[in-house]
Amino acid sequence: MSPARSPIQDQVAIVGVGTAPYSRGGRPRSSPALALEACRRAIVDAGLTAADVDGIAGTATTVPFWQVQGALGIPETTWGTNHPGGLPIGFQLVDAANAVFSGACRYAVVYHSAVHPPGKRRSSADPLRVRAQASARSGSFSWVTPDPPGMLTTGGAGYAAWAWRYMQEFGLTRDQLARIAVNNRTHAVPNPNAVMRTPLTVDDYLAAPMVYDPLCLLDLDVGVDGAEAFVLARVERAADTPHRPVLLHAATTGRTAFAREDQLEGFGRLGPDVAMRALWERSDLALGDVDLFYPFDGFSFVSVLWLEAAGFCGPGEAGSCLDEAWRPDEGHLLLDGRVPVNTHGGNLSEGATQGAGALREAVVQLRGDAGDRQVDGAEVALVAPGGIVWNAAAALLRTP
Protein backbone atom coordinates (compact mmCIF):
# COMPACT_ATOMS: atom_id res chain seq x y z
CA MET A 1 0.00 0.00 0.00
CA SER A 2 1.38 3.35 -0.99
CA PRO A 3 1.75 5.97 1.73
CA ALA A 4 -1.14 8.37 2.27
CA ARG A 5 -0.97 11.68 0.45
CA SER A 6 -1.16 13.51 3.75
CA PRO A 7 0.18 12.30 7.11
CA ILE A 8 -3.02 13.28 8.93
CA GLN A 9 -5.22 11.29 6.53
CA ASP A 10 -7.70 9.07 8.44
CA GLN A 11 -5.72 9.64 11.67
CA VAL A 12 -8.27 11.86 13.43
CA ALA A 13 -11.86 10.84 14.14
CA ILE A 14 -15.02 12.63 15.18
CA VAL A 15 -16.11 10.61 18.21
CA GLY A 16 -18.81 12.81 19.67
CA VAL A 17 -21.51 15.09 18.38
CA GLY A 18 -24.02 17.32 20.16
CA THR A 19 -26.71 19.79 19.12
CA ALA A 20 -28.48 22.62 20.88
CA PRO A 21 -31.79 22.36 18.98
CA TYR A 22 -32.48 25.13 16.48
CA SER A 23 -35.25 27.68 16.94
CA ARG A 24 -36.23 31.05 15.58
CA GLY A 25 -38.25 33.85 17.08
CA GLY A 26 -39.27 34.08 20.70
CA ARG A 27 -36.90 34.86 23.49
CA PRO A 28 -33.36 34.00 22.44
CA ARG A 29 -31.01 31.90 24.47
CA SER A 30 -27.56 33.42 24.80
CA SER A 31 -24.77 32.30 22.54
CA PRO A 32 -22.83 30.85 25.53
CA ALA A 33 -25.91 28.92 26.71
CA LEU A 34 -26.28 27.34 23.28
CA ALA A 35 -22.58 26.52 23.02
CA LEU A 36 -22.57 24.91 26.47
CA GLU A 37 -25.53 22.70 25.67
CA ALA A 38 -23.96 21.49 22.43
CA CYS A 39 -20.54 20.89 24.05
CA ARG A 40 -22.03 19.01 27.00
CA ARG A 41 -24.04 16.77 24.70
CA ALA A 42 -21.03 16.10 22.45
CA ILE A 43 -18.74 15.18 25.35
CA VAL A 44 -21.37 12.83 26.83
CA ASP A 45 -22.00 11.37 23.36
CA ALA A 46 -18.29 10.56 23.14
CA GLY A 47 -18.47 8.72 26.47
CA LEU A 48 -16.12 11.23 28.06
CA THR A 49 -16.19 13.57 31.04
CA ALA A 50 -15.02 17.13 31.46
CA ALA A 51 -11.73 15.87 32.83
CA ASP A 52 -10.95 14.06 29.56
CA VAL A 53 -11.19 17.18 27.40
CA ASP A 54 -7.94 19.12 27.02
CA GLY A 55 -8.52 21.16 23.88
CA ILE A 56 -11.26 23.57 22.76
CA ALA A 57 -11.90 25.35 19.47
CA GLY A 58 -14.88 27.59 18.91
CA THR A 59 -16.48 30.48 17.16
CA ALA A 60 -18.56 33.47 18.13
CA THR A 61 -16.75 36.40 19.62
CA THR A 62 -19.32 36.39 22.37
CA VAL A 63 -18.26 33.02 23.73
CA PRO A 64 -14.50 32.52 23.88
CA PHE A 65 -13.14 29.06 24.54
CA TRP A 66 -11.74 29.90 27.96
CA GLN A 67 -15.22 30.82 29.14
CA VAL A 68 -16.61 27.61 27.70
CA GLN A 69 -13.91 25.72 29.58
CA GLY A 70 -14.83 27.35 32.88
CA ALA A 71 -18.56 26.95 32.39
CA LEU A 72 -18.17 23.25 31.61
CA GLY A 73 -15.80 22.73 34.53
CA ILE A 74 -13.07 21.36 32.32
CA PRO A 75 -10.18 21.37 34.79
CA GLU A 76 -7.18 21.71 32.47
CA THR A 77 -6.60 22.34 28.80
CA THR A 78 -3.37 22.55 26.84
CA TRP A 79 -4.77 23.85 23.55
CA GLY A 80 -7.48 26.28 22.50
CA THR A 81 -8.41 28.70 19.76
CA ASN A 82 -11.24 30.95 18.68
CA HIS A 83 -12.35 32.18 15.31
CA PRO A 84 -14.50 35.27 14.73
CA GLY A 85 -18.22 34.87 15.22
CA GLY A 86 -20.03 33.72 12.13
CA LEU A 87 -17.00 32.02 10.59
CA PRO A 88 -18.14 28.68 9.17
CA ILE A 89 -17.23 25.48 10.99
CA GLY A 90 -14.42 24.39 8.66
CA PHE A 91 -11.73 26.56 10.21
CA GLN A 92 -12.23 25.26 13.74
CA LEU A 93 -12.43 21.71 12.42
CA VAL A 94 -9.11 21.94 10.58
CA ASP A 95 -7.38 23.61 13.51
CA ALA A 96 -8.66 21.07 16.03
CA ALA A 97 -7.74 18.12 13.81
CA ASN A 98 -4.20 19.43 13.49
CA ALA A 99 -3.99 19.96 17.24
CA VAL A 100 -5.18 16.44 18.01
CA PHE A 101 -2.93 14.91 15.37
CA SER A 102 0.13 16.78 16.61
CA GLY A 103 -0.48 15.86 20.23
CA ALA A 104 -1.23 19.40 21.38
CA CYS A 105 -4.29 17.84 23.00
CA ARG A 106 -5.91 14.40 23.22
CA TYR A 107 -9.61 15.26 22.99
CA ALA A 108 -10.65 18.51 21.37
CA VAL A 109 -14.15 19.94 21.54
CA VAL A 110 -15.14 22.02 18.51
CA TYR A 111 -18.21 24.21 18.86
CA HIS A 112 -20.16 26.75 16.85
CA SER A 113 -23.12 28.69 18.17
CA ALA A 114 -25.43 31.01 16.26
CA VAL A 115 -27.82 33.58 17.65
CA HIS A 116 -30.11 35.25 15.18
CA PRO A 117 -30.40 39.02 15.46
CA PRO A 118 -33.49 40.58 13.91
CA GLY A 119 -33.19 42.07 10.44
CA LYS A 120 -33.51 45.78 9.88
CA ARG A 121 -37.10 45.47 8.82
CA ARG A 122 -38.09 42.64 11.08
CA SER A 123 -38.21 44.76 14.18
CA SER A 124 -38.50 42.70 17.31
CA ALA A 125 -40.22 43.58 20.51
CA ASP A 126 -37.78 41.44 22.44
CA PRO A 127 -35.23 43.75 24.05
CA LEU A 128 -32.56 41.06 24.22
CA ARG A 129 -32.78 40.50 20.47
CA VAL A 130 -32.57 44.21 19.77
CA ARG A 131 -29.49 44.49 21.95
CA ALA A 132 -27.90 41.46 20.27
CA GLN A 133 -28.37 43.18 16.94
CA ALA A 134 -26.87 46.43 18.18
CA SER A 135 -23.89 44.56 19.63
CA ALA A 136 -23.29 42.72 16.41
CA ARG A 137 -23.37 45.94 14.44
CA SER A 138 -20.96 47.74 16.71
CA GLY A 139 -18.59 44.76 16.87
CA SER A 140 -15.97 43.44 14.55
CA PHE A 141 -18.23 42.74 11.61
CA SER A 142 -16.54 44.67 8.85
CA TRP A 143 -19.52 44.41 6.53
CA VAL A 144 -21.36 47.12 8.42
CA THR A 145 -18.47 49.56 8.13
CA PRO A 146 -17.38 49.25 4.52
CA ASP A 147 -13.86 50.36 3.80
CA PRO A 148 -13.95 52.43 1.72
CA PRO A 149 -17.67 53.32 1.44
CA GLY A 150 -17.70 52.40 -2.24
CA MET A 151 -17.67 48.77 -1.13
CA LEU A 152 -21.38 48.22 -1.35
CA THR A 153 -21.56 44.66 -2.62
CA THR A 154 -20.94 42.99 0.70
CA GLY A 155 -22.56 39.84 2.00
CA GLY A 156 -25.80 38.96 0.25
CA ALA A 157 -25.50 41.78 -2.24
CA GLY A 158 -22.06 40.58 -3.28
CA TYR A 159 -23.21 37.00 -3.74
CA ALA A 160 -26.23 38.18 -5.72
CA ALA A 161 -23.98 40.25 -7.97
CA TRP A 162 -21.88 37.18 -8.76
CA ALA A 163 -25.06 35.15 -9.30
CA TRP A 164 -26.12 37.76 -11.87
CA ARG A 165 -22.72 37.43 -13.53
CA TYR A 166 -23.01 33.65 -13.66
CA MET A 167 -26.49 33.92 -15.18
CA GLN A 168 -25.19 36.38 -17.78
CA GLU A 169 -22.15 34.31 -18.71
CA PHE A 170 -23.51 30.79 -18.51
CA GLY A 171 -27.29 31.08 -18.75
CA LEU A 172 -28.14 29.79 -15.29
CA THR A 173 -31.86 30.37 -14.73
CA ARG A 174 -33.90 31.05 -11.62
CA ASP A 175 -35.74 27.79 -12.27
CA GLN A 176 -32.45 25.98 -11.92
CA LEU A 177 -31.46 27.93 -8.81
CA ALA A 178 -34.88 27.11 -7.33
CA ARG A 179 -33.96 23.43 -7.30
CA ILE A 180 -31.36 24.05 -4.64
CA ALA A 181 -33.90 25.75 -2.37
CA VAL A 182 -36.56 23.12 -3.03
CA ASN A 183 -34.09 20.24 -2.56
CA ASN A 184 -33.06 21.56 0.82
CA ARG A 185 -36.63 22.11 1.95
CA THR A 186 -37.62 18.61 0.87
CA HIS A 187 -34.86 17.21 3.07
CA ALA A 188 -35.82 19.49 5.96
CA VAL A 189 -39.41 18.22 6.09
CA PRO A 190 -38.56 14.99 7.98
CA ASN A 191 -35.80 16.65 10.07
CA PRO A 192 -37.12 17.53 13.54
CA ASN A 193 -34.26 19.99 14.07
CA ALA A 194 -35.19 22.01 10.98
CA VAL A 195 -37.06 25.28 11.45
CA MET A 196 -38.54 25.36 7.90
CA ARG A 197 -40.53 22.16 7.35
CA THR A 198 -43.38 23.23 5.07
CA PRO A 199 -42.90 21.61 1.65
CA LEU A 200 -41.78 23.99 -1.10
CA THR A 201 -42.23 23.93 -4.89
CA VAL A 202 -40.37 25.64 -7.71
CA ASP A 203 -43.49 27.77 -8.24
CA ASP A 204 -43.39 28.86 -4.59
CA TYR A 205 -39.79 29.86 -5.10
CA LEU A 206 -40.54 31.88 -8.24
CA ALA A 207 -43.34 33.72 -6.40
CA ALA A 208 -41.15 34.71 -3.44
CA PRO A 209 -40.20 38.38 -3.07
CA MET A 210 -36.89 39.60 -4.43
CA VAL A 211 -34.36 40.71 -1.84
CA TYR A 212 -31.06 41.00 -3.65
CA ASP A 213 -32.23 40.66 -7.25
CA PRO A 214 -31.48 38.11 -8.78
CA LEU A 215 -31.64 36.41 -5.35
CA CYS A 216 -35.03 36.17 -3.67
CA LEU A 217 -36.08 35.48 -0.10
CA LEU A 218 -35.82 31.70 -0.59
CA ASP A 219 -32.21 31.99 -1.77
CA LEU A 220 -31.20 33.30 1.66
CA ASP A 221 -30.53 31.17 4.70
CA VAL A 222 -32.75 31.26 7.75
CA GLY A 223 -31.31 32.70 10.93
CA VAL A 224 -31.73 30.54 14.01
CA ASP A 225 -30.60 30.22 17.58
CA GLY A 226 -28.70 26.95 17.74
CA ALA A 227 -25.34 25.32 18.22
CA GLU A 228 -23.34 22.25 17.30
CA ALA A 229 -20.33 20.66 18.95
CA PHE A 230 -17.99 17.83 18.05
CA VAL A 231 -15.31 15.85 19.88
CA LEU A 232 -12.16 14.96 17.95
CA ALA A 233 -9.57 12.36 18.94
CA ARG A 234 -6.78 10.41 17.33
CA VAL A 235 -8.14 7.30 15.71
CA GLU A 236 -6.45 4.94 18.19
CA ARG A 237 -8.39 6.57 21.03
CA ALA A 238 -11.61 6.35 19.02
CA ALA A 239 -11.85 2.60 19.56
CA ASP A 240 -12.79 3.24 23.19
CA THR A 241 -15.73 5.55 22.42
CA PRO A 242 -19.35 4.35 22.31
CA HIS A 243 -20.29 5.27 18.74
CA ARG A 244 -18.93 4.32 15.36
CA PRO A 245 -16.12 6.83 14.81
CA VAL A 246 -16.17 8.95 11.66
CA LEU A 247 -12.73 9.43 10.15
CA LEU A 248 -11.51 12.78 8.92
CA HIS A 249 -9.94 11.70 5.64
CA ALA A 250 -8.86 15.19 4.60
CA ALA A 251 -9.75 18.76 5.46
CA THR A 252 -8.57 22.20 4.39
CA THR A 253 -9.54 25.84 4.11
CA GLY A 254 -9.11 27.99 0.97
CA ARG A 255 -8.86 31.65 0.06
CA THR A 256 -7.63 33.89 -2.72
CA ALA A 257 -5.72 37.14 -2.26
CA PHE A 258 -8.35 39.81 -2.70
CA ALA A 259 -10.95 38.85 -0.13
CA ARG A 260 -13.59 41.38 -0.98
CA GLU A 261 -16.77 40.63 -2.86
CA ASP A 262 -16.34 43.15 -5.66
CA GLN A 263 -12.63 42.46 -6.19
CA LEU A 264 -12.73 38.67 -6.57
CA GLU A 265 -10.96 37.59 -9.73
CA GLY A 266 -13.75 35.49 -11.15
CA PHE A 267 -15.20 32.04 -11.59
CA GLY A 268 -12.70 29.23 -11.21
CA ARG A 269 -10.51 31.47 -9.04
CA LEU A 270 -12.55 31.60 -5.84
CA GLY A 271 -12.12 30.19 -2.34
CA PRO A 272 -14.01 26.96 -3.08
CA ASP A 273 -11.71 26.29 -6.04
CA VAL A 274 -8.64 26.68 -3.81
CA ALA A 275 -10.17 24.51 -1.10
CA MET A 276 -11.27 21.70 -3.41
CA ARG A 277 -7.93 21.53 -5.22
CA ALA A 278 -6.17 21.33 -1.88
CA LEU A 279 -8.61 18.73 -0.60
CA TRP A 280 -8.15 16.37 -3.54
CA GLU A 281 -4.36 16.80 -3.29
CA ARG A 282 -4.56 15.60 0.32
CA SER A 283 -6.98 12.78 -0.41
CA ASP A 284 -6.80 9.24 -1.70
CA LEU A 285 -10.50 9.32 -2.47
CA ALA A 286 -12.09 10.57 -5.69
CA LEU A 287 -15.38 12.27 -6.47
CA GLY A 288 -16.85 8.91 -7.46
CA ASP A 289 -16.35 7.72 -3.87
CA VAL A 290 -18.53 10.49 -2.45
CA ASP A 291 -21.96 9.30 -1.28
CA LEU A 292 -23.21 12.49 0.40
CA PHE A 293 -22.59 16.12 -0.57
CA TYR A 294 -23.01 19.13 1.72
CA PRO A 295 -22.27 22.28 -0.30
CA PHE A 296 -22.63 25.53 1.63
CA ASP A 297 -25.92 27.29 1.11
CA GLY A 298 -25.83 30.50 3.11
CA PHE A 299 -27.02 31.74 -0.26
CA SER A 300 -28.34 29.14 -2.71
CA PHE A 301 -25.90 30.39 -5.34
CA VAL A 302 -22.93 29.37 -3.20
CA SER A 303 -23.97 25.74 -3.74
CA VAL A 304 -23.70 26.31 -7.50
CA LEU A 305 -20.06 27.27 -7.17
CA TRP A 306 -19.30 24.37 -4.82
CA LEU A 307 -20.87 21.98 -7.36
CA GLU A 308 -18.37 23.22 -9.91
CA ALA A 309 -15.41 23.37 -7.55
CA ALA A 310 -16.00 19.83 -6.34
CA GLY A 311 -16.07 18.60 -9.91
CA PHE A 312 -19.69 17.51 -10.26
CA CYS A 313 -19.76 19.61 -13.41
CA GLY A 314 -17.42 21.61 -15.60
CA PRO A 315 -16.94 25.39 -15.56
CA GLY A 316 -20.22 27.16 -16.28
CA GLU A 317 -22.18 23.91 -16.42
CA ALA A 318 -23.93 24.01 -13.05
CA GLY A 319 -27.28 24.80 -14.67
CA SER A 320 -27.34 21.68 -16.81
CA CYS A 321 -25.93 19.70 -13.86
CA LEU A 322 -28.93 20.82 -11.78
CA ASP A 323 -31.24 19.83 -14.66
CA GLU A 324 -29.78 16.35 -14.84
CA ALA A 325 -29.78 15.87 -11.07
CA TRP A 326 -33.33 17.15 -10.53
CA ARG A 327 -35.97 14.58 -9.56
CA PRO A 328 -39.25 16.53 -9.91
CA ASP A 329 -41.45 13.85 -8.39
CA GLU A 330 -39.33 13.66 -5.25
CA GLY A 331 -38.43 17.36 -5.21
CA HIS A 332 -34.76 16.69 -4.65
CA LEU A 333 -31.39 16.44 -6.37
CA LEU A 334 -29.33 13.32 -7.03
CA LEU A 335 -25.93 14.23 -8.45
CA ASP A 336 -24.63 11.72 -10.95
CA GLY A 337 -27.92 9.94 -10.36
CA ARG A 338 -27.02 8.86 -6.83
CA VAL A 339 -25.50 11.53 -4.55
CA PRO A 340 -28.04 13.41 -2.38
CA VAL A 341 -27.37 17.03 -1.43
CA ASN A 342 -27.77 18.59 2.02
CA THR A 343 -29.82 15.72 3.45
CA HIS A 344 -30.71 17.75 6.55
CA GLY A 345 -32.05 20.84 4.77
CA GLY A 346 -28.96 23.01 4.95
CA ASN A 347 -28.71 26.59 6.12
CA LEU A 348 -31.65 27.42 3.84
CA SER A 349 -34.17 25.21 5.65
CA GLU A 350 -32.71 23.51 8.72
CA GLY A 351 -31.26 26.81 9.88
CA ALA A 352 -28.17 28.94 9.50
CA THR A 353 -25.40 27.60 11.68
CA GLN A 354 -22.72 28.30 9.08
CA GLY A 355 -21.99 24.72 8.06
CA ALA A 356 -22.05 23.26 11.56
CA GLY A 357 -25.39 21.59 10.87
CA ALA A 358 -24.00 20.04 7.68
CA LEU A 359 -21.01 18.61 9.54
CA ARG A 360 -23.30 17.16 12.21
CA GLU A 361 -25.56 15.63 9.57
CA ALA A 362 -22.60 14.05 7.79
CA VAL A 363 -21.40 12.48 11.04
CA VAL A 364 -24.87 11.20 11.92
CA GLN A 365 -25.34 9.75 8.42
CA LEU A 366 -21.95 8.03 8.41
CA ARG A 367 -22.73 6.54 11.83
CA GLY A 368 -25.95 5.19 10.34
CA ASP A 369 -28.02 7.07 12.91
CA ALA A 370 -30.00 9.42 10.65
CA GLY A 371 -33.32 7.63 11.12
CA ASP A 372 -35.91 8.67 8.50
CA ARG A 373 -33.24 10.54 6.60
CA GLN A 374 -30.67 7.74 6.54
CA VAL A 375 -28.99 7.25 3.17
CA ASP A 376 -28.36 3.52 2.87
CA GLY A 377 -24.77 2.48 2.50
CA ALA A 378 -23.29 5.97 2.82
CA GLU A 379 -19.55 5.68 3.46
CA VAL A 380 -18.04 8.99 2.33
CA ALA A 381 -19.31 12.54 2.81
CA LEU A 382 -17.98 15.72 1.24
CA VAL A 383 -18.71 18.68 3.51
CA ALA A 384 -18.00 22.13 2.07
CA PRO A 385 -18.77 24.94 4.51
CA GLY A 386 -18.11 28.55 3.63
CA GLY A 387 -18.60 31.05 0.90
CA ILE A 388 -16.62 32.34 -2.04
CA VAL A 389 -14.86 35.31 -0.49
CA TRP A 390 -12.62 34.40 2.43
CA ASN A 391 -14.07 31.58 4.49
CA ALA A 392 -14.27 28.48 2.30
CA ALA A 393 -13.32 25.10 3.71
CA ALA A 394 -13.86 21.49 2.69
CA ALA A 395 -13.61 18.11 4.37
CA LEU A 396 -13.92 14.48 3.36
CA LEU A 397 -15.35 12.24 6.08
CA ARG A 398 -15.54 8.47 5.88
CA THR A 399 -16.56 5.40 7.79
CA PRO A 400 -13.70 3.30 9.26
Partner: protein, 155 residues
Protein backbone atom coordinates in the same frame (compact mmCIF):
# COMPACT_ATOMS: atom_id res chain seq x y z
CA UNK B 1 0.11 63.98 -6.01
CA UNK B 2 -3.09 64.91 -4.23
CA UNK B 3 -3.38 67.77 -1.82
CA UNK B 4 -7.00 67.18 -0.84
CA UNK B 5 -6.23 66.21 2.75
CA UNK B 6 -4.21 69.39 3.16
CA UNK B 7 -7.16 71.51 2.10
CA UNK B 8 -9.54 69.94 4.56
CA UNK B 9 -8.96 69.61 8.24
CA UNK B 10 -9.32 66.21 9.82
CA UNK B 11 -12.25 67.56 11.81
CA UNK B 12 -14.01 68.69 8.63
CA UNK B 13 -13.66 65.24 7.07
CA UNK B 14 -14.84 63.46 10.21
CA UNK B 15 -17.82 65.82 10.47
CA UNK B 16 -18.82 65.24 6.84
CA UNK B 17 -18.85 61.45 7.32
CA UNK B 18 -20.08 60.97 10.90
CA UNK B 19 -20.70 57.22 10.55
CA UNK B 20 -17.63 56.22 8.54
CA UNK B 21 -14.73 54.25 10.02
CA UNK B 22 -12.11 56.83 9.12
CA UNK B 23 -8.48 56.21 10.01
CA UNK B 24 -5.03 57.28 8.89
CA UNK B 25 -5.11 54.90 5.94
CA UNK B 26 -8.32 56.18 4.40
CA UNK B 27 -8.53 59.82 5.51
CA UNK B 28 -7.34 61.06 2.13
CA UNK B 29 -10.00 58.98 0.39
CA UNK B 30 -12.80 60.65 2.34
CA UNK B 31 -11.25 64.08 1.89
CA UNK B 32 -11.13 63.37 -1.84
CA UNK B 33 -14.85 62.60 -1.93
CA UNK B 34 -15.55 66.10 -0.66
CA UNK B 35 -13.57 67.39 -3.68
CA UNK B 36 -15.46 65.05 -6.06
CA UNK B 37 -12.35 63.00 -6.60
CA UNK B 38 -12.41 59.22 -6.19
CA UNK B 39 -8.97 58.27 -4.93
CA UNK B 40 -7.41 54.85 -5.30
CA UNK B 41 -3.99 53.89 -4.01
CA UNK B 42 -1.37 53.99 -6.75
CA UNK B 43 2.12 52.52 -6.44
CA UNK B 44 4.92 54.89 -7.34
CA UNK B 45 7.31 51.99 -7.87
CA UNK B 46 5.40 49.60 -10.12
CA UNK B 47 2.39 51.65 -11.15
CA UNK B 48 -0.25 49.27 -9.83
CA UNK B 49 -3.60 50.54 -8.53
CA UNK B 50 -4.92 48.70 -5.47
CA UNK B 51 -7.94 48.62 -3.15
CA UNK B 52 -8.68 48.85 -0.31
CA UNK B 53 -6.46 51.66 0.91
CA UNK B 54 -3.43 50.07 2.51
CA UNK B 55 0.07 51.50 2.94
CA UNK B 56 1.77 48.73 0.97
CA UNK B 57 1.62 47.70 -2.69
CA UNK B 58 0.39 44.08 -2.85
CA UNK B 59 2.23 43.55 -6.14
CA UNK B 60 5.77 44.76 -5.32
CA UNK B 61 5.69 45.55 -1.56
CA UNK B 62 6.76 49.10 -2.15
CA UNK B 63 5.66 51.58 0.49
CA UNK B 64 5.68 54.32 -2.14
CA UNK B 65 1.90 54.18 -2.33
CA UNK B 66 -0.27 57.27 -2.52
CA UNK B 67 -3.94 57.93 -3.27
CA UNK B 68 -4.55 59.27 -6.76
CA UNK B 69 -7.75 60.15 -8.60
CA UNK B 70 -9.22 57.75 -11.14
CA UNK B 71 -11.22 58.73 -14.19
CA UNK B 72 -14.38 57.08 -12.91
CA UNK B 73 -15.03 55.50 -16.30
CA UNK B 74 -15.51 51.78 -16.66
CA UNK B 75 -17.74 48.93 -17.71
CA UNK B 76 -20.26 46.92 -15.71
CA UNK B 77 -18.91 43.61 -14.41
CA UNK B 78 -21.38 42.87 -11.61
CA UNK B 79 -24.76 44.20 -10.60
CA UNK B 80 -27.40 43.57 -7.97
CA UNK B 81 -30.74 45.21 -7.26
CA UNK B 82 -31.46 45.69 -3.58
CA UNK B 83 -35.15 45.42 -2.73
CA UNK B 84 -34.90 46.12 0.99
CA UNK B 85 -32.32 47.32 3.47
CA UNK B 86 -30.22 44.32 4.36
CA UNK B 87 -26.57 43.90 5.11
CA UNK B 88 -25.79 46.88 2.90
CA UNK B 89 -26.12 50.49 3.99
CA UNK B 90 -26.67 52.62 0.90
CA UNK B 91 -26.29 56.27 1.90
CA UNK B 92 -29.27 58.35 0.84
CA UNK B 93 -31.46 55.42 -0.22
CA UNK B 94 -35.08 55.76 0.95
CA UNK B 95 -36.03 52.27 -0.32
CA UNK B 96 -39.27 53.46 -1.95
CA UNK B 97 -37.94 51.81 -5.10
CA UNK B 98 -35.33 49.07 -5.53
CA UNK B 99 -31.72 50.27 -5.47
CA UNK B 100 -29.35 48.98 -8.17
CA UNK B 101 -25.62 48.75 -7.53
CA UNK B 102 -22.90 48.23 -10.11
CA UNK B 103 -19.33 47.01 -9.79
CA UNK B 104 -17.49 48.45 -12.75
CA UNK B 105 -14.11 47.50 -14.15
CA UNK B 106 -12.29 50.82 -14.12
CA UNK B 107 -10.35 51.72 -17.24
CA UNK B 108 -7.14 52.43 -15.30
CA UNK B 109 -6.35 48.75 -14.71
CA UNK B 110 -7.91 45.38 -15.66
CA UNK B 111 -9.54 43.75 -12.65
CA UNK B 112 -9.75 46.96 -10.62
CA UNK B 113 -13.39 47.43 -9.68
CA UNK B 114 -15.34 50.19 -8.00
CA UNK B 115 -18.82 49.51 -6.65
CA UNK B 116 -21.40 52.30 -6.51
CA UNK B 117 -25.09 52.97 -6.72
CA UNK B 118 -26.39 53.13 -10.30
CA UNK B 119 -28.67 55.95 -11.40
CA UNK B 120 -30.24 56.76 -14.75
CA UNK B 121 -30.87 53.25 -16.01
CA UNK B 122 -33.71 50.84 -15.32
CA UNK B 123 -32.29 47.96 -13.26
CA UNK B 124 -33.64 45.43 -15.75
CA UNK B 125 -31.69 47.08 -18.55
CA UNK B 126 -28.24 46.68 -17.02
CA UNK B 127 -26.01 44.51 -19.16
CA UNK B 128 -22.57 42.99 -18.84
CA UNK B 129 -19.87 45.39 -20.10
CA UNK B 130 -22.29 48.35 -20.18
CA UNK B 131 -20.20 51.56 -20.04
CA UNK B 132 -20.63 53.72 -16.95
CA UNK B 133 -19.13 56.92 -15.61
CA UNK B 134 -18.94 58.42 -12.15
CA UNK B 135 -21.08 61.37 -11.09
CA UNK B 136 -21.67 63.03 -7.71
CA UNK B 137 -24.47 63.88 -5.33
CA UNK B 138 -24.81 65.47 -1.92
CA UNK B 139 -26.12 63.13 0.77
CA UNK B 140 -26.49 64.88 4.10
CA UNK B 141 -23.11 66.38 4.94
CA UNK B 142 -21.28 64.08 2.51
CA UNK B 143 -20.46 64.14 -1.17
CA UNK B 144 -20.84 60.68 -2.69
CA UNK B 145 -20.22 59.22 -6.14
CA UNK B 146 -22.64 57.13 -8.17
CA UNK B 147 -22.49 55.49 -11.59
CA UNK B 148 -24.61 56.47 -14.55
CA UNK B 149 -24.64 55.18 -18.13
CA UNK B 150 -21.77 56.64 -20.15
CA UNK B 151 -22.98 57.57 -23.64
CA UNK B 152 -19.37 58.10 -24.75
CA UNK B 153 -18.01 54.89 -23.26
CA UNK B 154 -16.95 51.72 -24.99
CA UNK B 155 -17.89 48.24 -23.92
Amino acid sequence: MVNGPMERSVDDVLAAFPDAAIDGDNLAFYAGLLEHRYLVNHCGACGRWSVPLRPLCPACWSEDVAPAPISGRGTCELTVVLHQPGSVDVPGADWSTPVPLVSAAIVEQPGLRVTLRLRGRDPGDVTLAMPVRMAWETVGSAELPFFEPDPDGRT
